[in-house]
Each structure stands twice: as C-alpha cells, then as structure tokens.
C-alpha cells in the first residue's frame, strides 16, 4: 500500500491533536477514550548515506491497540458517480464566481469613481487598490508561463475536501511517518453512540449525506468545518441527498 505522509496543510477542519485522537482511541460520538494497550516491535533497518557508507539502526515501532470491544469501527466513501457530480458542482460554482467578480468589478469601479472624493492621483491609486483586492481570489498569481494559480481554486479545493469530510477520511488513509501505529485503523464509535442501524457483522450502509453529516458532525471538535461554507452558501444544500457509503463492523480485539 502506498504510504501517505500527513502534512499539516492537509487538515482543514480538525486540529492535529484531534486528528491523532481519532486515529488512536477517541469515540467520534462522545469524545470518550477507549482503553488501549501498547505493543512494541523492535527491528533493524539498513541505512546508507551519499558517500556509500551503510549501517544498521535498531528502531522500535509502537502499536496502540484498542482493547475495548463495545464499539463499531467504520470507514466511509462516496461513489465515483457522486464524486464526478461534485466536480461538476465545483466547476459551475467556479464559473459563477468568476463571472460575478468580473461584473462586480465594473460596477465597483463606477461607484468608486463617483463616490471617492480624493485628489486625482490619490483617487486613481485608491480605486486600483480596492479593485485589486476585490479581484484577489480570481487573479492569476503565478509567474508568467507557469501553471495558472487562482486563490479561489485553493479555497474551492478546501471546501470540497470538507464536503467529502476529507480530514476524517485521513484518519484511516493516513499512515503517519512516526513509528506509531493505531489499531483498528478506522473511525471508532461506541455502540451506544452509534446513530445508525445496528450491525452484527461487517455491513455496508448507505445514507443521505445530510443524515450522516447531522449525526457525525454534532461533535464539537468539528466546529471549524462550517467556516468556509459561509463564504460559499448553497454548497451544502446541493449535496445533502448525495449518498454516503459506510463500511461498518463490530470490533473484535485480537489478543496476540
């Protein structure tokens, strides 16, 4: 499996501490901690430097395994079809914002010309600065010849990362590069905190986004989730019927 190294910039609505907590031993429903047991594994790894010198180093890998058994472990995802639909929504939103900004700039310039009472040179500078700021998100910031880079695209990437609850997906997709491992590699919820259908064995549930979101996002650790949506109203309404597939199973602690 490809190793994914977490960078802080990948997290947008969870703090790094919250992220590690969910990886390690925290219930997503009540934020309570599960009991864990540490297991250590020692082994040697070979290393070499650019001069060709080789040596071995002994390293210790720590695995934190949850020992409780009254919880579900789960992961979730969105079908290819819905991911494609999301890309379309994102593209439409981008085009709409570009159009709004370009039209808005024309009327803003007219308004400033009429209302700003400054010396002519001062007025010219002020108008250009205000317009530059107004168009900041839709201005290509890359150097000539380089790939175009608009701040709006970065914002939209983050918004849609949040729509897909990207920070939570990293909880099981990310294998951090320290020598700490967390078992089970999934989101954890006490059975009493589980708001969906109970299962006795591995199951795949399909729920509308809104239902999943209303249940999971009650957790106070997700307060940062809503910040960007305020700037792009309407996005959440567009996705609320999108189905979320949840892969869930009761956890069985495998005592070795």
């Amino acid at each position: 499996m490809k190793e994914v190294v977490l960078q802080l910039s990948q997290l947008h609505f969870l703090s790094y501490k919250d992220f590690i907590d969910f990886q390690k031993d925290v219930c997503i429903g009540c934020n309570g901690h599960f009991n864990t047991r540490k297991e250590y594994k020692h082994y040697n790894i070979s290393k070499s430097d650019c001069t060709g010198d080789c040596w071995t180093e002994e390293v210790t890998e720590t695995t934190h395994s949850v020992t409780d058994t009254d919880f579900y472990r789960f992961t979730f995802g969105f079908s290819q079809e819905y991911q494609r639909q999301l890309r379309d929504i994102k593209q439409r939103l981008r085009e709409r914002i570009f159009e709004e900004r370009n039209n808005g700039a024309v009327s803003l310039r007219e308004k400033l010309e009429q209302k700003l009472h400054l010396e002519p040179q001062q007025k010219k500078v002020a108008i250009e600065a205000i317009l530059k700021d107004y168009l900041h998100d839709t201005t290509n910031l890359s150097h000539q010849g380089a790939r175009e880079m608009y701040p709006l695209d970065h914002k939209l990437d983050v918004v849609f990362h949040n729509v897909l609850l990207g920070d939570l997906q990293l909880v099981w997709k990310n294998h951090n590069h320290t020598r700490e491992r967390y078992e089970p590699q999934a989101i954890k919820s006490h059975t009493r905190c589980w708001s969906f259908q109970d299962v006795e064995a591995e199951a795949i549930l399909e729920l509308p986004y809104l239902e999943f979101y209303n249940s999971i996002m009650k957790n106070t650790r997700f307060a940062g989730y809503h910040t960007l949506f305020e700037e792009f109203p309407g996005v959440l309404e567009e996705v609320q019927q999108m189905p979320v597939q949840i892969e869930v199973k009761p956890y069985v602690y495998n005592r070795r």
Partner: protein
C-alpha cells in the same frame, strides 16, 4: 501610496481584536500607537502617560503614528485608530492640539473610516484606564471629529471577530465606506 482605512471607536469596542483578525486575512495593519507608547512608558520610572501628561503623550503618539503609517508596504491597510483620533482625545482632555498636527492633511489621509459599536462588556486593562462612563463620550467625540473633517464613518455592529472582518471587507468591496 497606501490606501488606508481607519478602524476606530471608543475604548472597548474591539478594535484591536478586529485588526488582528484582518491581519490573519492577509491585510496589512498599523497597530495602535497609543497602546505601544503606554506599554513602553509604563516600564519607565517617570513615564509620560495620558493620565500624567496628556499633551506630551499626544505629541508622542502622533509622532509614532506617522512613523508606523509610513512603514506599511501593502496597498490596502487597516489602521488601529487614525491620527484624527488624537484630535478627539485632545478635545476631551481640553488641551491644545500638538503643533505636528497642523502640518498633516487630515482630510485626505484615509480612504474610509469604520466606527465600531460598543461590545456588551467593557473591559479595562492596564493600558486602558478610561472610565466606563467616559468611553461613550469619547466614542461620540471621535465620530464627531471624523465627520467634521468630511469623513462618513461606517458603523460596524457587534459581531464575532471573523464576521466583523467580513462585514468590513464586504463594505469596501461594495464601495460603501466613502
């Protein structure tokens, strides 16, 4: 040339919090000169403070404020209290306006002025000793001097800092601050 917007209001209106929020959102800022000077002077044995020597204090503030406003290097910037505020403080303290003032073109110095409404709870800190009863009078005096100089201060309601920052930016981007 900088395009300067003033964030002002009486003591305890949340100016510094808003300024910090705007700074977080990529904007250049000018910190409040008076607060800096009080902090510095409080360290000295016989420091010049507004409650010991208001005239000399205001002179120092204007000098520092001009210096701070010169140093910013961005096109749009937000000033935590404009130089005009000092005029209001001088009038409230019934003292002569420092001579340096008379050389400054106060009418064309700022592109817009945002006047912050009072927060529900006024907090007194070490650098801010205005009595809670004086604060509203000072607020009105600040508003008055800006209007007298031809500015139309835009009122900013009490909101969360992020929302207040957005309110300010939206007013600028709609050309409503002039």
């Amino acid at each position: 040339m900088m395009v300067k917007y003033v964030i002002t209001g009486g003591p305890g209106t949340g100016k510094t919090t808003l300024i910090h929020e705007l700074q977080q959102q990529r904007y250049a800022i000018v910190p409040e000169a008076a607060r800096q000077i009080i902090q510095e002077e409080q360290q000295k044995k016989e420091g010049i403070l507004p409650w010991t020597n208001l005239y000399e204090f205001q002179r120092k503030v204007v000098e520092r404020q001009l210096d701070l406003e010169e140093k910013v290097g961005s096109e749009i910037c937000f000033v935590d209290r404009g130089i005009v505020d000092n005029l209001a403080y001088c009038r409230m303290g019934k003292i002569e306006v420092p001579q340096d003032f008379q050389k400054i073109d106060l009418k064309n110095r700022y592109v817009g002025v945002f006047l912050l409404d009072f927060l529900p709870k006024y907090e007194i800190d070490l650098q801010r000793k205005e009595d809670a009863l004086v604060a509203p009078r000072l607020h009105d005096m600040i508003k008055f001097v800006y209007i007298e100089l031809g500015y139309g201060p835009t009122p900013v309601p009490v909101l969360e800092p992020k929302e207040r920052a957005r309110y300010v930016i939206e007013r600028i981007q709609r050309g409503d601050t002039l």
